[in-house]
């Protein structure tokens, strides 16, 4: 383990294993300009393509912006309009519901990952590929297949239900059902990614702990609860952060699965879809920038909050 981990440590920590504060100061003095030179390309890229656009968007959110440019300062107008816009709250609620449903996939992924990582399981890598495939497939392609599955008249899902005498709903064209349908596909396609991360976390749990707990007479279920889950919390935390951020950014799946002209879209749209429709369909780009800043702040707050909370439940020492 020590050998495996050492490359990820910084060089000075091996050269001078002193206390943290001393180590940092010494490194800065000794390394001079070179670390900055190596980081510069990345820094320039992030600065140019991430930080600068964010600052610009923040500025544009205070302007009224014509289709072909020509922003004029309009103060807090966009934000006041946004907060009074009922569509914002519909979109926010939809995004939260979607995120909630997709998060149900995390415990499911923990369970599935531990099943796949059962020692001596045959075809384990085959299963791993099977679960990971949806994640690497294009969201649009995935959505088109699910669109056919969900079809109310001719879809395979309603056909299967009809065998049991159930008349299935029009999944993607009934308000309510449509959001659930999108979330189910979102859950399904993110499962593989979560399982890979959690699987790697599982591999890092020393087998001695299982042996020891077995000697102490722990059952498989008890082992899962008292050894696997606590030692997996850093991975679970990572998966949670990534899942929440990507769920808040729901767009392509929704767009492709429901279709932009779907009548249920106003009742089903996510925040990012709302941003898109205002900025790129209605050409109201200053307003769209305000929506984007809203999403940005929302994700920022939720993420910081998660990092605060993690101290209480993530096993870090």
């Amino acid at each position: 383990m020590t050998i495996k981990l050492s490359p990820s440590r910084s060089v000075p920590s091996i050269a001078a294993p002193g206390t943290r504060s001393r180590r940092g100061g010494a490194a800065a003095r000794r390394d001079g300009i070179w670390p900055w030179v190596f980081v510069l390309p990345l820094l320039a890229g992030v600065g140019l393509f991430y930080i600068w656009p964010i600052l610009q968007t923040a500025y544009f959110s205070f302007t009224t912006w014509g289709v072909f440019g020509g922003a004029t300062w309009s103060g807090l107008n966009n934000y006041l309009r946004l907060l009074a816009d009922p569509q914002l709250y519909t979109a926010l609620a939809n995004t939260l519901i979607y995120t909630g449903i997709v998060l149900l996939g995390v415990p499911l992924a923990v369970w599935l990952a531990s099943l796949i990582n059962t020692p001596g399981l045959r075809f384990a890598s085959f299963y791993r590929v099977l679960f990971f495939l949806p994640y690497v497939a294009m969201p649009t392609a995935v959505a088109l297949v699910w669109r056919i599955i969900f079809n109310g008249d001719f879809g395979i899902l309603n056909h299967a239900l009809s065998i049991f005498g159930i008349r299935g709903p029009f999944w993607i064209s009934t308000p309510g059902f449509a959001l659930v349908a999108v979330a189910v596909v979102g859950l399904w396609s993110s499962l593989g990614f979560a399982m890979i991360i959690l699987g790697a976390g599982l591999k890092n749990i020393p087998p001695e702990l299982y042996e020891a707990s077995e000697l102490d007479g722990a059952s498989r279920a008890r082992q899962f609860r008292s050894v696997t889950v606590p030692l997996l919390t850093p991975s679970i935390f990572f998966v949670l952060i990534i899942t929440i951020i990507s769920s808040f950014q729901l767009f392509d799946l929704l767009y492709a699965l429901l279709g932009s002209k779907n009548p249920v879209m106003p009742k089903t749209m996510s925040l990012v879809f709302y941003f898109y429709s205002q900025g790129f369909v209605s050409n109201d780009k200053g307003y769209a920038a305000a929506i984007a800043m809203f999403i940005f702040l929302l994700i920022g707050i939720v993420t910081v909050w998660q990092f605060r909370l993690q101290r209480r439940w993530v096993n870090n020492d």
């Binding site: 383990m1 968007t57 969900f150 020393p206 952060i241 994700i299 920022g300």
Partner: protein
């Protein structure tokens, strides 16, 4: 214990990753940050055909790959007259075309000559992005009288014309002869009225219900369905000055009610069924006997299993006969560097010779009067002449400076009226209010 102590460092790295994720969202917005370009003024100099030896390198932007072959042939002809003007044809697929064009327009780097459609025309013209054809017409190089009047109107803003159409599309009533025969109903004729259509639709639905076949399909698309019935009822989508919505008029309401009644009579699948399976899919899979579709539907229909049993009739008449007409136009960028060369190509592409070649080779109806004979014969056994005969009563697709904004309201509100879940009159009142709000902002 190593594994556990590594957790602290890993978490810090994850913090960074998480932060990057947050940044990613904001970067979404990067798409809308472009230079705030100043709009250029259109200096209308007089047009003279360029010298034969004019040397220039120009770009011609369009979105339809299937027309590229005919356009390349056009350009070969063009280069016979102007051997030193090199034309780069730049094809961008439909979905990206408008995003790209908007970005180019913002930075005044539009292609020298490009395709523009009705819904986007006023946006570009009112912002001074495209060059009027006034001087070209004055010089006698293009005569607007050679093209359908409704389409000249489509590309005219405040009395100034910016382009003539290269092609046109009208809407027809496609029908499946086999399904009519099976149901024992006589096929549509040019004298059909709304009542004939409704009776046939509900009769076929009733008789063939056990096969899941419907008499007709409603649609959610203005150009192929409800704009037509609005015009047929004598209503309007936009007032003639283009500044007010027409949705609160009684005649317009009749045009919308037509589709609500069709669905209520079970002559068409429900709105939900149509959302899950699009109208054209119902028709080409033999599950619907009638379909309101443009002439462009013929390639899809010809490739479908029902190809041999299809024919087309003019749209049924309401208060009067009407169809929506739309066509694409070639326009010259106002800020282009080689405007004279671009105008020479614009003039050539508008000529009878070029459009005849387009019609003979391509999958379009050329706009120049008298060049459409090849189109009418392009699908044996199908009376495509219908689409040409409809020109007499064709009305242009309703457009304004920001068409997309109120198109979005139509898409959001009208389905509830069609499905009957909200009363038609109340929905249209709502729509008119929202649309007027959008029009006031233009």
């Amino acid at each position: 214990m190593q594994i556990l102590s590594s957790g602290g460092r890993a978490t810090r790295r994850r913090l960074l990753l998480g932060f990057m994720g947050v940044l990613g969202t904001a970067a979404l917005v990067a798409g809308c940050s472009a230079n705030s370009g100043s709009s250029t003024t259109t200096a209308s100099s007089s047009y003279t055909a360029p010298d034969k030896n004019l040397s220039a390198n120009i770009t011609y932007a369009l979105w339809d790959q299937t027309q590229k072959k005919a356009i390349d042939a056009n350009i070969v002809e063009f280069n016979k007259a102007y051997p030193k003007i090199k034309v780069n044809v730049d094809v961008t697929p439909w979905t990206d075309y408008w995003t790209k064009l908007q970005t180019e327009a913002s930075s005044n780097t539009l292609p020298d000559l490009f395709w523009l459609n009705g819904p986007n025309f006023q946006l570009y013209a009112s912002n001074g992005k495209v060059e009027p054809i006034t001087s070209v017409v004055k010089a006698g190089a293009i005569d607007p009288a050679n093209y359908p009047k409704a389409l000249d109107a489509l590309y005219t803003l405040n009395g100034v014309e910016y382009g003539v159409p290269k092609d046109f599309d009208t809407i027809g009533l496609w029908y499946n002869k086999d399904l009519f025969q099976k149901a024992g109903v006589s096929v549509p004729t040019s004298s059909w009225t709304w009542a004939d259509f409704n009776t046939a639709a509900s009769t076929i639905s009733q008789k063939l219900s056990k096969d899941g076949i419907y008499g007709a399909v409603a649609g959610m698309d203005g150009q192929t369905t409800y704009y037509n019935t609005i015009f047929q009822a004598g209503g309007s989508v936009l007032a003639s000055d283009g500044k007010k919505s027409g949705y609160d008029s009684a005649a317009t309401q009749k045009g919308i009610q037509f589709w609500t009644d069709l669905i209520a009579s079970k002559g068409s699948p429900t709105m939900q069924q149509l959302t899950d399976t699009a109208a054209d899919q119902w028709f080409v899979s033999g599950k619907a006997a009638m379909y309101w579709g443009g002439d462009w539907a013929r390639s899809e229909i010809a490739a479908s299993p029902i190809a041999s049993s299809v024919n087309v009739a003019p749209l049924p008449a309401g208060e009067k006969k009407a169809t929506v007409i739309h066509g694409v136009s070639n326009v010259v960028a106002a800020a282009g560097k080689h405007k004279q060369a671009a105008q020479a190509l614009q003039v050539f592409l508008a000529s009878k010779k070029a459009q005849q070649q387009q019609g003979d080779m391509g999958a379009i109806i050329p706009a120049f009067n008298g060049t459409q004979a090849a189109f009418a014969k392009s699908l044996p056994g199908v009376d495509l002449q219908v689409f040409l005969d409809e020109l007499v009563y064709a009305q242009p697709l309703p457009t304004s400076k920001n068409t997309a904004a109120w198109n979005a309201f139509e898409a959001a509100l009208l389905p509830d009226a069609f499905s009957g879940s909200k009363p038609v009159a109340a929905t249209l009142k709502d729509l008119a209010t929202q649309m007027n709000g959008a029009l006031a902002k233009e």
